[in-house]
């Protein structure tokens, strides 16, 4: 994975709480055997009307959504199904970070393993970000801070190892494989 130190972009805001992974990528697109190409179906049933035309009111369809890499979402983003197709779809749709006050456990783990920053901020900052769509943000992974256009900065939460892996481009499977001796030793002792 390529190292990631900063994400710099205007924000898109989806203020809805509890955006589940069925919403992010409906199950009928999960018959793929590839990771690629899911971006066109990200938020499919929200983004397109039943006749297949884009809903102009949906945030991703607005002209100013072009090039936005940061999604600010309501509390408990990514709940529900464990499908890694959800972060694959968001990345393929051009997103590089999701900010919320709470992110569901499995989605967050999946996102971070693919280089999609899934980070949480305090309620006050979250509210501020939700109320100011289109804000130009700089997410600084090294400092673990978000910088506002006026230079103001505030912290975000991200588990230490995940942050290290993002910054250094650490391959987690490679990391695990290097512990083969410890795993073999454990297996020799382990009954179950």
């Amino acid at each position: 994975m390529n190292p990631i130190r900063h994400v710099h972009s205007r924000t898109l805001v989806l203020a809805h709480e509890n955006i589940d992974t069925d919403r992010i990528i409906p199950a009928r697109f999960l018959t793929t055997t590839s990771r690629a190409g899911l971006g066109q179906h990200a938020f499919q049933d929200w983004r397109y009307r039943s006749d297949g035309t884009p809903d102009p009111d949906f945030v991703l369809n607005r002209p100013d959504a072009q090039g936005c890499k940061i999604l600010v979402a309501g509390r408990n983003f990514g709940c529900g199904s464990s499908r890694e197709h959800a972060p694959w779809a968001l990345l393929d749709a051009g997103l590089r970070a999701v900010i919320s006050s709470e992110i569901a456990d499995i989605f967050r783990a999946n996102a971070l393993k693919n280089g999609l920053l899934a980070i949480t901020v305090e309620d006050a900052e979250h509210r501020f970000l939700l109320e100011h769509p289109g804000l130009e943000l700089k997410i600084d992974l090294v400092a673990a801070e978000i910088e506002l256009p006026d230079g103001g900065r505030f912290g975000f939460a991200l588990e230490a190892f995940a942050r290290h892996c993002l910054i250094e481009g650490v391959d987690q499977l490679g990391f695990l494989l290097r512990h083969d001796d410890a795993i073999r030793h454990f297996e020799e002792q382990h009954a179950a």
């Binding site: 509890n18 009928r28 709940c79 529900g80 464990s82 499995i106 999946n110």
Partner: protein, 471 residues
């Protein structure tokens, strides 16, 4: 030694390396369950890196999500919804052959929903760590296992190393006092619990279900409760094993036998939280206060007692949920017309669930306006149900009796609810579009689903059970 929770004990027994501030723990996985939807990209990763599966004997694969529930035709062709669905199934067959993984394939007599067959085979056992690329892996926690869903990258990690990098979740206790009333099921209980703690009430936690009402549940009921732990945001749910667990497992094909069984029982009896173990969060539930419970909104925390009225929406989002569901604040849920009834899924697709639905349907008919689909959770559940004539009860009542699979719970295989239709479903998620684009889902117990099928509208299942008892 300090008092430990069941989570502490299971975690400690599977730690290859303890966590530090810098790195998560290396956690060893005893049983890795695999299905066709979340595994292709993981096997591709192994292939690209020229890796083998480290412990093929700890991996068990099956087909459940993309598989048709209609039988093959005379030429043996199955009605896959798309060529992609069929290709996904072929891909798992090929991957299992190439990597030496056991596959309970499309025609195998032990095939079924991954969370139904693990326990059924006795592959799921107390004290194990169990993972699967599927969030309802929490089901297996009913046996006193630490079982949780993972993503596809992690499926690759486990295939290649039998380990995961994990931070230890927090321990949360849900104490269920007293006893469930007659006519109230484990599904009602778990929907009630999710309504109480919220769909993110368990985020970051493993829930241990405890208390008199939990001990009184059968093994299949315990699986229903643990299954929906993820709908409260929890990584896993678990119940300490006891005599109910041991009796259920004894003699299952992959359970230990003879002296090994005796030794296993000895180990399993130690798998409970110590009396003064400390939980980071505790919630108490009064089982006697639980009524037949159904969802009314667009997530599993939006639930109501059968005799309650739809609450006034507190915000725009709750209003959107009511609009999507076509419900009005102040209206009673009972009496709402129903188009589709689905009985099945890893939540409620076991034999006892089919019996509960059949008990309501016996001698009655599915309303003319309702399409009812009954999908057994596994091929073995299907055979057992047919042996006691449940298929005849369903068919005679006018329901469709299908081959096993995930079916209409996730609507990947062509079994779906049409836009705008309202389904009463024994599955686990009522998210917008979960059962098909525009589909409206009301989550319910098997008895409540069957009652809705007969009445043609949402109805109190207790009325039907009482009638039967008198007759």
């Amino acid at each position: 030694m300090a008092a430990r929770t069941l989570l502490d004990k299971l975690w400690g027994a599977h730690q290859v390396m303890a966590e530090t501030p810098e790195t998560p723990a290396l956690l060893y996985v005893d049983l890795h369950l695999v299905h066709e939807v979340t595994s292709p990209q993981a096997f591709a990763e192994l292939r690209a890196r020229r890796l083998r599966v480290r412990r093929p004997e700890r991996v068990l694969a099956t087909l459940d999500h993309s598989t048709p529930t209609l039988a093959a035709d005379a030429q043996g062709r199955r009605p896959y919804i798309t060529p992609e669905a069929e290709a996904q199934v072929s891909m798992l067959e090929r991957n299992c052959r190439e990597f030496g993984v056991e596959l309970l394939g499309i025609d195998h007599p032990q095939r079924g929903i991954v969370h139904v067959i693990g326990p059924e085979l006795g592959a799921t056992q107390p004290g194990m760590t169990i993972v699967c690329g599927d969030s309802h892996t929490s089901t297996h926690g009913a046996f006193g296992a630490l079982a949780f869903g993972i993503g596809t990258s992690e499926v690759g990690h486990v295939l290649a190393t039998q380990c995961l990098l994990q931070r230890k979740p927090r321990a949360m206790a849900v104490e269920v006092r007293g006893r469930l009333q007659p006519g109230v099921s484990a599904k009602d209980l778990v929907l009630h619990i999710i309504g109480r703690i919220g769909i993110d009430g368990g985020t970051g936690c493993v829930i241990e279900y405890r208390g008199e009402a939990i001990r009184a549940l059968s093994m299949e009921e315990r699986m229903t409760v643990c299954n929906m732990s993820i709908e409260a945001g929890a990584r896993a749910g678990m119940i300490a094993p006891d005599e109910v667990t041991f009796a259920w497992l004894k003699g299952r094909p992959r359970a230990p036998r003879g002296a090994a069984w005796e030794r296993a029982i000895g180990r399993w009896k130690a798998l409970h939280s110590d009396p003064d173990a400390c939980f980071e969060r505790r919630v108490e539930i009064d089982a006697g206060a639980v009524r037949p419970t159904l969802s009314y909104g667009t997530h599993p925390g939006m639930v109501l007692d059968i005799d309650a009225t739809v609450p006034a929406p507190g915000d725009a989002q709750a209003q959107r949920a009511l609009d999507y569901m076509g419900l009005r604040a102040g209206a009673r849920l009972a009496g709402t017309p129903v188009d589709v009834v689905f009985v099945g899924s890893c939540t409620n697709g076991r034999l006892s669930d089919l019996r509960a639905a059949a008990a309501v349907l016996r001698g009655r008919r599915v309303a003319g306006s309702v399409r009812m689909l009954v999908v057994p959770g596994s091929a073995a559940v299907k055979r057992a149900a047919e042996l006691e004539g449940l298929d005849a009860v369903f068919r005679t009542a006018g329901a469709e009796w299908r081959e096993s699979g995930c079916s209409m719970c996730i609507a990947m295989n062509g079994d779906r609810v049409a836009p705008g239709q309202l389904a009463v479903s024994t599955s686990n998620r009522n998210f917008e579009g979960r059962q098909g684009p525009g589909a409206r889902t009301v989550l319910a117990s098997p008895a409540a689903a069957a009652a809705a099928a007969v009445a043609g509208c949402i109805a109190d299942p207790r009325a039907y059970l009482i009638t039967e008892a008198v007759a």
